[in-house]
């Protein structure tokens, strides 16, 4: 039972508090205080002049704060107003809170900017992001050049670790996904080709499509999700833990220790994974060819040999390191930039994957247009 009453005793306005004034009952107290007569109400009472706590069972700081706020709003000063019947502990709480909560101006939340301004800010930050990526790319190229000029600087063990993480462990998922794509691609092409009795051309279509477009693109998307995100999250956490600072203070170059091995590893790994993707995709197609289209595996191989110009496969393999550079640079830069808190790590990791995939597709389109123009 929590309650408060205002009455007049010997010409003074006395406010009587009763019950347990505690945090758990703040809402009830709110009601009770609101129901308490306002100054100058029925009995002609002004602001309370005396607090009576003889029926008070408990008073904690939260409830005291609420009481102080109520008293101040009515022109009474809880820091100095006389009290009676208070347990000494409760009086201490009241006085402490009254002193600590004296003058406080609540901070106003920043007003929301108009949509145009937000759009502008977004565009500016996107431009700054791109600018940052480009200068980071330059920085990475310079640092990689240094490492290659003086191989003693290259962190071989870190490079091997990263190769194992980004390449070897990615083989199963890459093989599975590209095999399924090859399978579906051959099946859909086969449905059409069968109608014209042109079964054998399925091999031409699958070979060209997989090696030149699908395999590099799909592998790059998988790697962006696996390794790009992992770079951003790992480097971001290392920065949060001041591990990157420790590296710098030990006289080592953060770029040489962390960034260069990751970029090099990914640039080496992606062509290898694309090659795995090519093989798996063609194997998937061969399965459909032999079961649905009456093309035996040996016929498949012979036709592949005759119809697939090496340049298609080479173009696919040449695109891979470009994609890899893009993914690695975005992943590392997103890990190394932004404020040092956990939220930024999450945002940057997501952003890495989105930026990488969009970037890969844009670069792939550029490749397609340029190669078309030069007649490859």
């Amino acid at each position: 039972m929590t309650d408060c009453r205002i009455g007049i005793e010997a010409g003074r306005v006395v406010m009587r508090l009763a019950g347990a004034w505690q945090l758990a009952r703040l809402r009830q107290l709110d009601e009770a205080l609101k129901a308490c007569p306002a100054p100058g109400a029925e009995q002609g009472a002004g602001a309370p002049q005396v607090l009576d706590g003889s029926a008070l069972d408990a008073l904690d700081t939260a409830a005291a704060l609420q009481l102080c706020g109520w008293l101040r709003a009515r022109g009474a000063d809880p820091a100095t107003m006389p009290v009676r019947g208070f347990d000494p502990r409760f009086e201490r709480v009241l006085r402490q809170v009254a002193a600590a909560s004296g003058d406080q101006a609540a901070a106003r939340p920043a007003a929301l900017r108009p949509p145009i301004a937000r759009f502008g800010a977004l565009a500016v930050s996107a431009g700054e992001m791109l600018h940052g990526h480009l200068s980071f790319l330059g920085f990475v190229i310079v640092e990689t050049g240094r490492a290659l000029v003086r191989p003693g600087r290259l962190r071989v063990s870190e490079l091997v670790t990263q190769l194992s993480r980004t390449c070897v462990t990615a083989v199963p998922v890459v093989a599975l996904v590209t095999a399924l794509i090859g399978l579906v691609f051959a099946y859909l092409l086969g449905l059409q080709a069968e109608q014209y009795g042109a079964n054998i051309f399925v091999v031409d279509g699958v070979a060209l499509g997989m090696t030149r477009e699908f395999s590099p693109l799909i592998v790059a998307v998988i790697v962006a999700g696996r390794s790009g995100a992992s770079f951003a999250a790992q480097l971001g956490t290392m920065r949060l833990n001041e591990e990157t600072d420790a590296i710098a203070v030990l006289g080592l170059s953060v770029a040489q220790v962390l960034v260069v091995p990751r970029v090099l590893a990914l640039v080496l790994a992606l062509p290898l994974l694309v090659f795995v993707g090519n093989l798996a995709g063609l194997a998937g197609a061969a399965v459909i060819a032999s079961t649905m289209l009456d093309i035996t595996p040996s016929t498949f191989l012979a036709r592949l040999h005759d119809s697939l110009a090496p340049r298609h496969a080479i173009i696919g393999l040449v695109k891979a390191p470009v994609f890899a550079l893009l993914i690695a640079v975005i992943g590392c830069r997103m890990g190394m930039s932004g404020s040092r808190d956990t939220r930024t790590i999450g945002i940057n990791t997501t952003s890495t994957v989105v930026q990488s995939i969009v970037g890969v597709i844009v670069i792939d389109a550029l490749f397609a247009v340029v190669l078309q123009e030069i007649g490859w």
Partner: protein, 258 residues
Amino acid sequence: MSAAIELRGITTRFGRQTIHDGIDLTIGRGELVAVIGGSGTGKSVLLREIIGLHRPDAGTVRLLGTDVWQAAGAELAAVRRRFGMMFQDGALFSSLTVAGNVAVPLRESGLVPESLVAPLVALRLAQAGLPADAGAKMPAQLSGGMRKRAAIARALALEPELLFLDEPTSGLDPITARAFDRLLEGLCEDLGITVVVVTHDLDTLMTIARRVVVLGGGHVVADGDLSTILASEDPWIREYFSSRTSRDRREDAEADGT
């Protein structure tokens, strides 16, 4: 009223290593207890076991009358609202401002009307000795001492009956550390909060601890007020207290002489 904390036969092992070998300890309400012990004697682990973050291999933990490791989810949550914990490095939520950090328990409890959240946050910051403008800062912008104060403010948010602090003065300069000691003393005496502090700070022990619990070798080696502990024959305790510099002791002797 039941004791604030009751430990019976707490046993903890990490692999083959036994950290606690049957610890019994009772802490009454309103006490200010310091837990000390060498590195690796399991002070922080014991704290984590008391607040329900690490399950002991054997033994019971009763916290404010509830068996922490037998309690159902809702019961445990209810107990957790009744104590505050300050982690060693503050463990502030790095994506929220200091005021936002303190407001989290207030809002999540559902007990505090929204109109009272901001003033209550300001009160908690003032109680912890932070300036009013600290509320708008991000944890990363704070100094070590201020981060610890912000952590205390968050731990105090819901009027805890019990406050746990893991190394509250580590990494602080002596002036700030003493101010911290006074803050804890005030919380214990004025608000009647039971305070359990794991510490390495000799001065904290000397100035504020009414009761000192010494852990060592998996047991409670000594337990009592400072004079009891100082009179102990345990070699670790003797070495611990003699680690104060000879200059300190000379000054003490001079002070006694005059």
